[in-house]
């Protein structure tokens, strides 16, 4: 099969740029190439207006004010700015940070870097559902806690944390609250005017926008202060210097505008596709869902297929683009830390497969996926010494 015929089931890794988004970006590369910071001529004014419009579009999707949005190169940079910036600015108040074991590496590694700077970090466990126990979260808060960071939608298992409840706990204890929303925009309705969230990181390329652009929401009332991490020119009100990438920003704005317009219909359609997929997959014996089914975006199914290793499953699914939490797919040779944090055995973590659906997934894709997985599971189990041995051949494990 040619590359073009492959079925893309890895929207959680990245999404294609929506053609409408790509169209909106092109003029800003060629004719309308001005620097938004050039305040002395129309080239600059034109670009500045485009950036302002994109800022309104992004703010509008998440219920923020445009002035609360700061452009970054992506969610990883936004997270670095939020966590390092807040920790360094408020360190005289305390040096304790709370986050969760199932966070994305962008948060985990940034917290580890802060640990090296002398901050103390608590990595909270999650329940077998993948959700945080709010009581355990509150109990982790100490007098010297200055910051907590929780992701809204998990990148591996798609579960939705109750950030409104966790944010309320943070407010009560005067702890700053950062939310990583990289996997959530366009999937979960977000309203920062009402949500007790101080900082929120976003990415364009998980929401049908281009790679290389993201944004950080920084609350203005009450104002959150951050120590800048990138210096040089004082762009973005000093939070993040560097010439703005107008075309990328326009693309993110348009992508978020489309997300706002189409989220409800997209979610409805994707839920129906996910239900069809899950019904089909449940016909396979010894197949498990990782993470809760209920508090979850419809775009994600993370399954473990017992007695088959995940990378082998992925390799055998030659027409399907998917991800696995298997150790063999990672350089560390450790199985997914997210799945083991749920209390999944190493064996089941090794045998996991992440299927993520999106705007361009079709019913045919779903049916072909079910058929392909069913066929490959049967083939690999026939090879597996752990599966249905003949009665004459007992092997101890």
């Amino acid at each position: 099969m040619s590359r073009a015929q492959r079925i893309y089931m890895d929207y959680a890794a990245t999404t294609p740029v929506d053609p409408r988004v790509a169209d909106s970006m092109i003029p800003w590369l060629t004719e309308r190439f001005g620097n938004p910071a050039s305040s002395s001529h129309p080239y600059g004014w034109d670009a500045e207006e485009a950036v302002d419009q994109a800022r309104r579009q992004v703010a509008s999707l998440v219920g923020a004010e445009p002035r609360e949005i700061v452009w970054t190169s992506g969610a990883t940079e936004a997270i670095n700015l939020a966590l390092k910036g807040a920790a360094q600015f408020y360190q005289s108040k305390g040096r304790h940070i709370i986050t969760v074991r199932t966070e994305h590496k962008a948060v985990i590694d940034t917290c580890l870097a802060l640990q090296d700077e002398g901050f103390e970090v608590t990595f909270l466990d999650v329940l077998p559902s993948g959700l945080i126990d709010p009581q355990a979260f509150e109990q982790a808060i100490r007098p010297d806690t200055i910051l907590a960071s929780v992701m809204l939608v998990n990148n591996e298992i798609g579960v939705i944390q109750d950030v409104q409840a966790l944010g309320a706990i943070c407010r009560k204890h005067k702890v700053l609250f950062h939310v990583d929303a990289a996997q959530a925009t366009g999937k979960v309705a977000i309203n920062l005017q009402e949500w007790p969230v101080d900082l929120m990181s976003m990415s364009a390329h998980k929401t049908y926008g281009p790679k290389g652009i993201g944004a950080l929401y920084i609350r203005r009332k009450p104002a959150v202060r951050l120590k800048a991490q990138i210096h040089g020119g004082g762009h973005e009100r000093g939070f993040r210097s560097g010439t703005l990438a107008t075309h990328q920003i326009v693309g993110m704005g348009r992508a978020f505008e489309l997300a706002a317009q189409e989220m409800d219909t997209d979610n409805q359609r994707i839920t129906a596709l996910r239900d069809r997929l899950w019904a089909g997959l449940q016909q396979i014996p010894d197949l498990y869902l990782n993470g809760t089914f209920d508090e979850r975006v419809p775009h994600n199914l993370n399954i473990s297929v017992d007695h088959i290793e995940g990378e082998a499953l992925m390799m055998a699914l030659t027409d399907l683009a998917v991800s696995s939490g298997s150790a063999c797919t990672s350089a560390s040779l450790e199985p997914s830390y997210v799945l083991t944090a749920l209390g999944r055995s190493d064996q089941l973590a090794h045998s996991s497969l992440r299927l993520s659906l999106g705007r361009f997934t079709t019913e045919q894709d779903i049916d072909d996926t079910i058929a392909a997985i069913g066929r490959v599971v049967e083939q690999l189990r026939a090879i597996s010494p752990l599966w249905s041995e003949s009665a004459s051949e007992p092997f101890t494990q």
Partner: protein, 127 residues
């Protein structure tokens, strides 16, 4: 990870998948790895009175390279002598399948399974 054609060929069309009765006097069975660690290979050999391997088969649980390595070994063992089988080395597997460095453990695992299979049939005393 992207693998070479040899790995994909053995992985997608594995040779000599099967099971023999391990209690037969002329069958040697060797296992290496475990379910818990994510890779398990079983190699079985049927040996003639002259010490020639008449048949070999494998079963494997693990990543694509583990399965490819086991398939390669099961094929390699066909018509070899037990003495030759005892010399089977992970380097042969690595070179034939062009395994990347991060997958060297798959070759080591199959070597261990082959050696265990040879020892198992030798321990039965018929050779």
């Amino acid at each position: 990870m992207r693998y070479g054609d040899a790995v994909m060929e053995h992985f997608l069309r594995p040779r000599h998948v099967g099971v023999m009765n391990s209690s037969d006097a002329d069958v040697g069975t060797g296992e290496a790895g475990s379910y818990q660690t994510g890779a398990l290979i079983r190699i079985q050999l049927k040996v003639s009175e002259q010490g020639q391997i008449q048949e070999s088969c494998f079963k494997a649980y693990g990543c694509g390279c583990t399965i490819a390595a086991a398939s390669f070994a099961a094929q390699w063992l066909q018509d070899r002598s037990l003495e030759q089988a005892a010399q089977f080395s992970s380097t042969d597997v690595q070179q034939a399948l062009e395994l990347p460095p991060v997958k060297v453990h798959c070759a080591l695992l199959v070597q261990e399974a082959v050696q265990a299979a040879v020892a198992s049939v030798q321990n039965k005393g018929a050779f």
